[in-house]
Symmetry: C2
Subunit: 560 residues, 2 copies
Amino acid sequence: MAQGQETGYERVPTLLTDLYQFTMAYAYWRSGRHNEPAVFELFFRDNPFGGGFSLFSGMHDCLLFLRSFRFTDEDVEYLRSVLPPATDPAFFLFLRELDCSGVTLQSVPEGTVVFARVPLMEVSGPLAVVQLLETSLLCLVNYASLVCSNAARFRLAAGSRRKLLEMGLRRAQGPDGGLTASKYTYVGGFDMTSNVQAGFLFGIPVAGTMAHSYVTSFSSLEEVWPQTLVAANSDHDNIDLISLTKGWLGRVCELLGAEPGKIREGELAAFLSYAIAYPHNFLPVIDSYSVTCINAISVVFLLCPYSSGLLNFCAVALSLCELDYSPLGVRLDSGDLCSQSVEVRHVFRLCSEQFSIPAFQSLVIVGTNNISEYSMAELNKKENEIDVVGVGTHLVTCTRQPSLGCVYKLVEVRGSPRMKFSEDPEKSTVPGRKAVYRMLDTEGHPFLDLLCLCEEPAPKACVAVRCHPVVGNKTCQSITPAQVSCLRLDVYTKGQITHPLCSPAETREKVQSSIQTLHPRHKRLQKPDSYVVAVSEKLQNLIAEIRKGSSNNSNFLLAN
Amino acid sequence: MAQGQETGYERVPTLLTDLYQFTMAYAYWRSGRHNEPAVFELFFRDNPFGGGFSLFSGMHDCLLFLRSFRFTDEDVEYLRSVLPPATDPAFFLFLRELDCSGVTLQSVPEGTVVFARVPLMEVSGPLAVVQLLETSLLCLVNYASLVCSNAARFRLAAGSRRKLLEMGLRRAQGPDGGLTASKYTYVGGFDMTSNVQAGFLFGIPVAGTMAHSYVTSFSSLEEVWPQTLVAANSDHDNIDLISLTKGWLGRVCELLGAEPGKIREGELAAFLSYAIAYPHNFLPVIDSYSVTCINAISVVFLLCPYSSGLLNFCAVALSLCELDYSPLGVRLDSGDLCSQSVEVRHVFRLCSEQFSIPAFQSLVIVGTNNISEYSMAELNKKENEIDVVGVGTHLVTCTRQPSLGCVYKLVEVRGSPRMKFSEDPEKSTVPGRKAVYRMLDTEGHPFLDLLCLCEEPAPKACVAVRCHPVVGNKTCQSITPAQVSCLRLDVYTKGQITHPLCSPAETREKVQSSIQTLHPRHKRLQKPDSYVVAVSEKLQNLIAEIRKGSSNNSNFLLAN
């Protein structure tokens, strides 16, 4: 299997950025400022989906992007055609030589639980280069983190018992939107994907059996060919599976008091053909003809009518069991999945008992029907027997909030802090180069992320620190962490990746252990407690100083 | 410039599909049904965004996909590793030889106005192959059509006068989600994109000048270098632009009664540097320091305070005008864009009159601040002076409805119609191979799309036709079209593209002319009248026949 990290598949074109990055780079270059050391920070302003946390993803893709960042001759020629004619030709030579050998990236590790307003990445290097990186880094982090966070919420809503299948390719933003979705929903806690290319590139387990079209493509038992199957682990004769199944169908209808008159021949043919093709992997979709078969005679079953699909499944699966195969289960794709799954499980148990078939006790029920986080959470409240849930649209498009809104802000140039002011205090930036610490309580739960100036000594465990929350009640408070960890690592230094690239499976494990450290009050999907992000006293003083200094800085008008 | 259509850039990996397509293909192959002629239809069930229409896009990408559809040895080896071990090895040889030489595609032309429940594409060919195409075709059409429709709605909301700039790359579903968005929002009616790669690949005009980070990266006039500019169309001496601008700044403040004390030196330095780099293309973002400068003395201006950015812009732009350059305008990126734009325009007019500078009458005002379709529509209701609107997040993520929900349904196998039943009538399919006609009224507005069986004679202009709407009131009605057009064309026949591939710019024009044919009652963005999609009497009879026939088809149980 190809490993996406190394195939270069994910190479992002260096031109895939906003035009203004080039016009700004030119203006920097023209004024001789392009090599001034500059520092940008990447962060988002609100936790998505009304939740209390997010997951940070996409960093590995950023590393690969930085490593391969180069403009080709063709790129540069195109830029020459779209930048203003006044652009000095020497600028294009400069672009042609550009790479990230002067860039350093400090980042929160991939797959870590993070919070709004914490600078997740610090990108430092020559002003023109780090400016040029903006759009690509945002593009790589924004959706990856969003869909990973969404997947983690589905995982929490589903509980750990159920298996989760991602199947959103057809509803994603084009082919590679779908590929990104498959990768990062797996990282966020899904178990499988339907996307074969994602399996190929990232080693994600792939799953799937049949669509309704397969079932409706059959109309009669004459289409079943071959009609025979050899019993598993046997060199014996071919068994006529159609006759065998007809016999079982009669017994199943009798057991359930179902009326054979409503059974769809085409559906039975489809199931038989599939079972003959894949006797070890029989898991059909059983509601292509969701017209139910109410048996008016048996009062017991009046309220739980059996569909043609369920009866056909039982008959074929019992035949397979008789031939020593183990059918896998069924998929439900419409209606009330909870109540249907209970009814289906009931039938499986009846069959198991009546016909002494233990394998029918462990059949899997897959549910797929426009599942949202809300309906996933319902599965934990209502009685149901669903073992595997397939999720598409709401997962990959992040219906509830389709953008994370990461931003990339300048915080320092030539060693001097920079700040964007705004009348909306939420949009002002926190100036200066920082260190970011995570404070843990005595039970190991993180309770506060602290932004300090990087020259400040690190806070110590069991020593009180004074700090100011960055949003809400901003009055100074004193906190005493039981443990302190440094949240960011050096991951790219002077052109080299200095942090091991993990596989999606490894990152997926980190995601789950990172989520487990969270206190339940922050992990709650609805109305979680706010996690505090704060700045140190020194940083707070710097902000105040800059605000004050800025209020009257027009002395330059008097000079000259 | 590279042309995306021919570079193969858009080649979709053949493995980028759902696993069940392969398990189904195997089951077809195993039962010898893989070459049976089959027909699938692609359609969506509801017009997006609560609107009355949609735009069909992505068909050209489908054609390129069909043309290059092949499995490599590497693909097949991977499939061998994930399909059940029981899979007959000969199936992989079959896959290795597969292509679309037996496939025919009939499609609505790219960029056409379409309606819910109309089969937009008919894909016919060998059962196993046309089944395998499902996910890729859906993936290529779904988002392209959705985001194109979204762009068309923004275009309608904006009116034709305003220029629209797409700038959503950083908020899209990863790198190529962003590229798809740029392409199809342009097709849907946007004028420009910020995405350079989209310009490179698709020939879309690109635009952009500077971000806030550029402005905040400057702190003093000492950073401006060079400090001089030669007048346009002149070989004369270098002029000291800083001194010149300081003079203009004094005059502007005097004219407006503004207090120079609030002017940001760094911002002025940024504007000067940019103007020196691009004297012909001066269009700065003027609200990086959105702290306004209220002049308590001048009562007139109490209610329209001037920001540092506006004053700095006027001073630099007036200097440029003095040197015979034409500044372009300003960008506003926060707050109430409408009222700000009115204020900014007012200042431009004052300057123009006071200083006799005609160029100040035609300065452009660009607005970019989390624009939604709703806020775009507001621009047509509230007084404002915005000439260009930049849209990102809400455009590319289609916040209001991030998925179109296209489906791909089997309608015929071996010449025999197929239908999926469902208790939810909306989810039942319309069986059989069809022709699709669009009925126009005497004014040339389409008013009804009619699905007929393909063997029926085409309806004729001015001849009454009886038909049944597919949703809502399904009673038979008689309609008389003034004109009839055939909605779908043969675009791919037996392995060959038989329809010319248009450039995005050509499709963009088709979109606008297609929208223009719509009656205002269908074009309305809010609460439009429903457009009628109907089936012919013959097709209605076929549906009834199949429903009836299906109600008792279990005679097979008695046979044998």
